[in-house]
């Protein structure tokens, strides 16, 4: 069986997953799922913002089928899963609730999406649906880029979180600018930045920069009063 960690990009939530369930009366149901979270090597958790047919179905017939896409290649993966239990508090729930707010803000669903429960499923089988795409044609298909470095991606995400935290904690524009530039440098290794401000004529003008003189640090910007 394909290991769940080998399809980690599918769990980033960039392409919505789809879940099929079936009632005891034999009526299939299919729905988009906002978030599928990798819990461990044998379990995934699915977010539920509203009590719905999917939840009713898996409580009477725990068998379900989930289809996910790799967000980089759009390759299709099919998971056979079995409902295990539901969580409405605790670390898994809190983490998924926070992620749902991020997804909601990206998809214009802020205020509509609120995690009601995280349903945990045992994964019985993982299948790469290779037949979804035509076989690669070397005459027209460019070579795929190498698989992403997950550790580097995690570092980048943590860096972005740090930048975002710093933005949240700042009280004025000067602090904001200084803080963001510091975090970009220290966390993401981006020592050089250019800040553009809109002019009265609708064009963009760079803020004047002065170097701090500290070796290895970014050129700093003096916040011009007025």
């Amino acid at each position: 069986m394909i290991a769940l960690r080998d399809i980690a990009p599918c769990f980033e939530g960039l392409v919505p997953a789809t879940m099929a369930t079936c009632s005891l009366e034999g009526e299939p149901n299919v729905t988009k799922i906002s978030q599928v979270k990798l819990v461990d090597d044998r379990h995934v958790a699915l977010s539920h913002q509203f009590f719905n047919k999917t939840q009713r179905n898996v409580r009477e017939n725990p068998q379900a089928c989930v289809v996910m896409h790799d967000p980089g290649t759009f390759e299709v993966y099919r998971l056979e899963v079995r409902f295990d239990h539901s969580e409405t508090e605790g670390p898994l729930f809190e983490e998924m609730a926070a992620q749902i707010q991020v997804i909601a803000s990206h998809t214009g669903m802020l205020g509509i999406f609120k995690l009601r429960c995280a349903d945990v499923y045992e994964v019985l089988a993982v299948e790469h649906v290779k037949e979804f795409f035509l076989p690669p044609d070397p005459r027209i298909d460019v070579t795929r880029p190498p698989a992403p470095n997950l550790e580097a991606m995690a570092r980048e995400l943590h860096g972005l979180q740090a930048v975002s935290d710093r933005v949240n904690r700042t009280g004025c524009l000067e602090e904001l600018l200084e803080g963001v530039l510091d975090e970009l440098d220290c966390r993401l290794g981006i020592p050089n930045s250019m800040v553009l401000l809109p002019t009265a004529k609708g064009a963009w003008s760079p803020l004047p920069a002065t170097a701090t003189g500290r070796a290895g640090w970014a050129p700093r910007f003096r916040w011009e009063k007025g």
Partner: protein, 163 residues
């Protein structure tokens, strides 16, 4: 039996992200992405094209019990509906149907491109040959994320619902 009204038929025909689901005799569900469908106003039936390359289980399930659910979503604004019904026919799709299916896939590719899916992706999908599965629509539900999700379909427009 519900009839596809003009609003719903136009929505379904607009190049949506579509998934279909069936189940086997042991109530194990199955789902695949669908790249083309035909829905006409005033009709009680509609057709989905199941790509042969990925639909062996779906077709087996349909021959077993005929039950099918189809969810169609607009990737831009998340408006969604789910249609449930029973298969009335399942045949190898014809060349005539291919032209309409190609047009639907092109519309779908344009819709998905607006949310960042490269247009070439759908054209790399093996969507033909396909089986044309015609089913009688027995229930329609709103599936747009929000408190109204799961209710019987009335309209896709929240403004109309409030009036």
């Amino acid at each position: 039996m519900p009839t596809l009204d003009a609003e719903l038929a136009a929505f379904l025909d607009s190049g949506l992200s579509v998934m279909a689901s069936t189940r086997d005799a042991r109530l194990r569900p199955e789902t695949v992405r669908i790249l083309a469908l035909e829905a006409r106003p005033g009709e009680e039936e509609m057709t989905v094209f199941l790509p042969d390359a990925v639909s062996a289980r779906m077709l087996e399930n349909l021959r077993d019990n005929g039950r099918i659910a189809v969810v169609a979503s607009d990737p831009l604004d998340n408006r969604s509906v789910q249609l449930k019904g029973t298969m009335v026919s399942c045949q190898q799709a014809t060349d005539l149907q291919r032209a309409a299916a190609d047009a639907y896939r092109a519309k779908m590719a344009r819709s998905l491109a607006q949310v960042g899916v490269p247009q070439g992706i759908l054209f790399r999908a093996q969507f033909w040959p396909a089986h044309a599965v015609r089913f009688r629509v027995e229930a329609i539900f709103l599936q747009t994320p929000g408190p109204a999700a799961g209710r019987p379909f009335d309209t896709l427009s929240p403004e109309k619902r409030e009036r």
